[in-house]
């Protein structure tokens, strides 16, 4: 099955990354077909594996402050900042809908 434009649009929203062109969409289609091979495997009764270290206990250290106070260091790499803040454009404005966005998907 082909992936619908709605799903493609949804993905661009979620990922905040665009498909760029037909090749990008085709790449996704190929990826899905490739992944479909997984369904050939019988996984009846098998538990999903998150990590190869699942049989071990996670290391927890004491809740003590051991480092920090490096505000200047961290701010050095930001392009836009004011005093000790990272500056961001206004939030709460959703990405424009498909019709209004600059995206390849508009044509499909």
């Amino acid at each position: 099955q082909k992936v619908t434009v709605e799903v493609l649009d949804h993905l661009e929203h979620l990922a905040l990354v665009d498909f760029r062109d037909a090749e990008g969409v085709e790449r996704l289609q190929k990826a899905i077909r490739f992944a479909d091979q997984l369904h050939e495997v019988n996984t009846e009764g098998v538990e999903p594996m998150d990590s190869v270290l699942e049989d071990r206990c996670l290391y927890l250290r004491d809740d003590d402050v051991t480092e920090g106070n490096c505000t200047n260091e961290l701010l050095k790499n930001a392009r836009q900042k004011v005093e000790e803040y990272f500056v961001a454009p206004p939030g709460n404005i959703p990405l424009p809908k498909l019709e209004e966005r600059e995206t390849f998907l508009k044509g499909s």
């Binding site: 992936v3 799903v7 949804h10 993905l11 661009e12 979620l14 990922a15 905040l16 990354v17 665009d18 498909f19 760029r20 090749e23 990008g24 790449r27 996704l28 190929k30 990826a31 899905i32 490739f34 992944a35 091979q37 997984l38 369904h39 050939e40 495997v41 996984t43 098998v46 538990e47 999903p48 594996m49 998150d50 990590s51 190869v52 270290l53 071990r56 996670l58 290391y59 250290r61 490096c70 260091e73 961290l74 050095k76 790499n77 930001a78 392009r79 836009q80 990272f86 961001a88 454009p89 206004p90 939030g91 709460n92 404005i93 959703p94 990405l95 424009p96």
Partner: protein, 517 residues
């Protein structure tokens, strides 16, 4: 060898550093390095020299020039991951493994080239261009290559290094450093090691800290070690392994650095030959080499048996799903706000993020992010992501079963063929290539097992071919012992780099030693 030379004063750390830096300059066409930290390297070399004069070197690695793949954070040095997204990003801290090397006195020469964000199997997809395999310029390759015409010179014939740690492999292979760090998520250290004729070690997941390694797949990434001989790899491993409180995925067991026996003995071992690794596309040369290697072990008294890892052929599909899913999550941090590239688009946070990511990532990265998000959609989660996790367990169990039946080490090929020419490699897209090339190396990452590539022989085209050993979890000592034995048996030839572009090959002759241990 070179460490002993440093101790006895035959050569000084600054001399060594300068020679390596000069060599880097004269091999610039390989494009192995993204950043060369000349000033700091010389400073470190001078500090090391002072220590040697006082008779107090920090250890075997003191004064040894090393290179680090550009996806490890290095304080004060640009770290780009070969991507526009991080161009100009100067790390505020050292990755734990980098810090450990520096604490031992190693001299950091620079950051090596890779595929963008370590996604790829050719080291061809970074924004700084592809890395050229030093063997393209070796006498061994040139002798075997058929000259196409007078006008076509070696410029078009060069072969890839493999990836994604191609820069690190090329750097070690061309003698510009004595050891290099790579990363291994699907074979990214072992693949270029095989193509460049160097030793590539992927340690057990959880042995070496990933703190500071820009993550690709959190559950499979490990820092990889590239050296010219197995003993060197053991030394580097010794200085890097161990629990790190800053990486909660490192195990807490006490790690004891070990020295390999000078006369390794394999007669009491059981070697397994997994039949599924006879994958379609495996060159007949490599198949023959694999067979010869098995015979070597048999003649030495080891028990060599055929074993089966039935889910091997699904490991690449499983990797594809899990990798893209984790990538979709890990790449979300690149939004232009705190570091890295930032777009001028300022209408809203979301549109700024979208524009930044549009401008910063290449097709490969974007493709994986979008695929990953697809597999993580609510309607697909069970069918793809969870399903892949279940298949992962099956793959890991395959290994457990084989190792549980008495097999100590698995012997497999590392790559399907020797290095292909760049012009051929780029005819297929990144995902197809990765799917083809990672097939033999990927499963070890799935199961978190240690694996090592040992250069075995030269192919008919005069290019290196390696074989892979996979060991039990945390049994690096046994794995490296077997690797060392094999290395001694095959006596892989040293690369004979030709005089290139009018540069003195005196520079190569002055490399008194190939290894440092």
């Amino acid at each position: 060898q070179v460490s002993a030379a440093l101790k006895e004063g035959h050569v000084t750390p600054t001399e060594l550093c300068q020679r390596c830096l000069a060599l880097i300059k004269s091999t610039k066409f390989l494009n192995a390095y993204i950043t060369v930290a000349e000033k700091t390297a010389l400073e470190q070399a001078e500090e090391s020299e002072k220590r040697y004069k006082r008779g107090q070197p920090l250890g075997v690695l003191d004064g040894i020039p090393v290179a680090v793949k550009d996806n490890f954070n290095t304080a004060g040095i640009e770290t780009t991951c070969a991507s526009n997204m991080l161009k100009g990003y100067i790390s505020p801290y050292n990755a734990t493994v980098v810090q450990k090397l520096l604490d031992q006195g190693a001299v950091l020469l620079g950051k090596t080239n890779l595929d963008e964000f370590a996604m790829g199997s050719g080291s061809t997809d970074g924004v700084f261009g592809p890395v050229r395999n030093p063997w393209s310029y070796s006498r061994q390759y040139k002798e075997k290559s058929v000259p196409k015409s007078d006008s076509e010179d070696e410029e078009s014939n060069w072969v890839i290094t493999g990836g994604s740690s191609g820069g690190s492999a090329a750097a070690v292979s061309s003698f510009t450093c004595f050891a290099a760090l790579g990363s291994d998520t699907g074979g990214s250290t072992r693949n270029p090691a095989a193509h460049c004729g160097v030793v590539g070690l992927k340690p057990t997941y959880g042995l070496i800290s990933r703190h500071g390694l820009i993550p690709l797949v959190n559950s499979m990434d490990v820092p990889g070690i590239l050296t010219r001989c197995v003993d060197d790899a053991a030394v580097v491993l010794g200085s890097l392994a161990g629990h790190d409180p800053k990486d909660s995925t490192t195990i807490q067991d006490n790690f004891k650095p070990f020295e390999l026996p000078s006369l390794p003995d394999v007669s009491k071992l059981s070697i397994g030959i997994p039949k599924e690794y006879h994958a379609p596309g495996l060159s007949s040369e490599i198949l023959a080499l694999w067979s010869k290697a098995a015979d070597l072990f048999k003649n030495a008294g080891a028990k060599v048996t055929e074993v089966s890892l039935p889910h091997t052929r699904y490991s690449i599909v499983c990797y594809h799903v899990l990798c893209t899913a984790e990538v979709a999550s890990n790449m979300a941090r690149f939004d232009g706000l705190e570091y890295g590239h930032r777009s001028d688009m300022n209408k809203s946070t979301e549109s700024m993020y979208a524009a930044t990511r549009r401008e910063g990532f290449n097709d490969v990265v974007r493709g994986r992010i979008l695929s990953g998000n697809y597999f993580l959609l609510k309607q697909n989660y069970e069918n793809y992501f969870v399903k892949a996790q279940k298949v992962r367990r099956l793959i890991a169990n395959d290994f457990l079963k084989v190792f549980g039946s008495g097999v100590d080490i698995l012997l497999t090929p590392t790559t399907l063929t020797d290095a292909v020419p760049y012009m051929e490699f780029i005819k297929e897209d990144n995902r197809t290539r990765s799917a083809q090339d990672d097939i033999l190396t990927q499963a070890a990452n799935m199961a978190g097992l240690p694996a090592i590539n040992v250069p075995a022989a030269l192919s008919e085209r005069g290019l290196p071919v390696g074989l892979q050993f996979i060991g039990r979890s945390f049994q690096e000592k046994q794995l490296l012992t077997v690797a060392k034995w094999f290395e001694k048996q095959v006596k892989f030839p040293m690369i004979q780099l030709e005089e290139v572009k009018g540069h003195n090959d005196n520079v190569f002759q002055h490399q008194k030693s190939a290894s440092f241990s």
